[in-house]
Symmetry: C2
Subunit: 335 residues, 2 copies
């Protein structure tokens, strides 16, 4: 699958602004951690070969400004702010989850220590607000409030996620709410923040927000499916990685809470690690209990709901097409 | 020493607003961590006997609004926001420093785990911005920018502090800059945020800010003196606690960088712990090398500079007196 051209635009316009904002707002020591985390430098501080993240959220933020009749350039501050909040959350989540690698690279806390990684996250969150308020755009303050509200929901989702790891009785509605907060809130904000920043009418901002929230939940459902049945060559993760880590992912919770789940429960909720044979067996059980079908159907329902919001929004046709293309890219990964 | 009455006003007016903001903006799980950390509940979630923190920074924020001719009530959002940022930093610093107690209570991370304590800090930082922007005050956006700039400096100070722990060659100017960033920036913001929020002229905001920055550095110098020579009954810390922890505090760095510091350096910078006799001996060396005198003199110079800013600011006399009284309270602790 080739990358949508909108992502190239985001990389071209938002990348330099992201780097400039790191230079401007972060102290040199913490900026070094942020640059490594963003993928711009290697562990020794030298420029990295990789082009860094895909900048999906900034791309959505630029389109969101264009949806309101402004230019992509008008949405750049929204793109920088949403990417900073996204990376703040990754820096802190990697510490909380004890993850030592991300996209094939050592996580920041393993190289710079937990204190510097906590501070780098704090600094990016702090800078995200400043970037919006410094933009002097018509909707700077409402945009900052919207971003902080989404951040608060994301924190709530992560708090639930951490707690769910210690519980064997998570219900499917709880798990869906967690995913909406943890993944949906920030994607919803990405899809509406540019519009909010340029002062778009409230009903347009709401439509774009709802579009993004549905896409976000679809994305999480598909990410969870890939975490069990994904092709390691495409996902970069070992097959069954989420089962081995005993994650309360959406297909698994759907299966655990389905009738006849006794065998799955006894295997999945026991303290000892799963053998490779058991990982394979658990994947089969989740599928037989309907977890895979439910997640695929629910993702399709969320994509349809997102489409509906997009269709009802008063936005230029070419922007609608680009939003649809990006949504397809986010949710269309094969497994 | 009795508490200045301004602190009573802060407790009466800001406490309920702080609690309401925690209820409103934080998810229930993270709110529980924040309530414990603020001292409102005990470890099991029951209301605590203690009245919580002194609310020094909110008291300064209310006076800052009054300095600009507004009422204390007009500064409440500034008081809540600055206290949230202060507590965000304490929650995260306790994790970074591995501190297990604060003011005689178990720190949040030891009770709720590192992930929930990181998230509680994140949530308070996020809520601080929202409280200001939701206030709809004339200077809401500039106040939020000022608070985020101070937060960024505080993060920079903490990053230096963490790094200095691993270095034996910290210079006195570096150490003073670290203290200005870590302690001075937020106190400066506390002293100006209320004025900024109510839309005061830039020169008044600047005077109040400078006043607070000098008070903040004086406060840190005196805190560092108390960490070596303080009366344990008054400070709540063991005598010589900062020496035992081998902190690069201001009097110590002044002594380490003075001529004739070879004996102090070899004792203080060696890897093995200090015996009780050595702690006592190190305190004597720091004093003989001039570290105690320098810190006391520098604190006096900072207080004089603060006074000068206060005298030059166009503010009502009764408010000036109250600011002076609070400054005296902050910097006047005997040792």
């Amino acid at each position: 699958m080739t990358l949508p051209s909108t992502l190239d635009t985001a990389v071209t316009t938002v990348s330099p602004a992201l780097r400039a904002a790191v230079d401007k707002y972060l102290c040199p020591e913490i900026a070094a951690v942020a640059r490594y985390h963003h993928g711009w430098t290697d562990a020794s501080g030298r420029p990295a070969e990789a082009r860094g993240g895909k900048l999906l959220r900034p791309a959505l933020a630029l389109l969101s400004a264009q949806a309101a009749g402004a230019t992509a350039a008008d949405g750049v501050a929204a793109g920088v702010a949403i990417e900073f909040v996204h990376n703040f959350s990754l820096l802190h989540d990697d510490i909380m989850d004890g993850d030592r690698t991300r996209r094939g690279r050592a996580t920041a806390w393993t190289l710079f220590g937990v204190p510097q990684a906590i501070l780098a996250g704090d600094a990016l969150l702090t800078a995200a607000t400043t970037v919006l308020l410094d933009s002097r755009a018509a909707g700077a303050a409402p945009a900052a409030k919207s971003l902080m509200a989404a951040t608060q929901r994301m924190i709530s989702g992560q708090a639930s996620d951490v707690r769910f790891e210690r519980r064997g009785d998570v219900t499917l509605p709880e798990c869906v709410r967690m995913a909406r907060n943890k993944t949906g809130a920030l994607l919803a904000c990405a899809c509406s923040l540019g519009a909010s920043l340029v002062g778009a009418p409230a009903d347009l901002v709401q439509r774009l927000n709802d579009f993004g929230e549905h896409i976000g939940l679809a994305f999480q459902l598909i990410d969870d499916l890939l975490g069990i049945w994904g092709d390691p060559a495409r996902t970069g993760k070992q097959a069954g990685a989420d089962l081995r880590a005993r994650k309360n992912s959406l297909p698994v919770v759907a299966a655990l809470t389905a009738p006849g789940s006794a065998e799955l429960r006894s295997l999945y909720l026991r303290p000892d690690p799963l053998t490779e044979g058991e990982v394979h067996h658990v994947a089969g059980l989740v599928e037989r209990l309907g977890g895979r079908d439910w997640a695929q159907d629910e993702a399709a329902r969320q994509i349809a709901a997102a489409e509906k919001n997009l269709g009802a929004a008063a936005i230029p046709d070419d922007v609608r097409d680009e939003l649809r293309e990006l949504a397809g890219f986010v949710t269309g990964r094969r497994f």
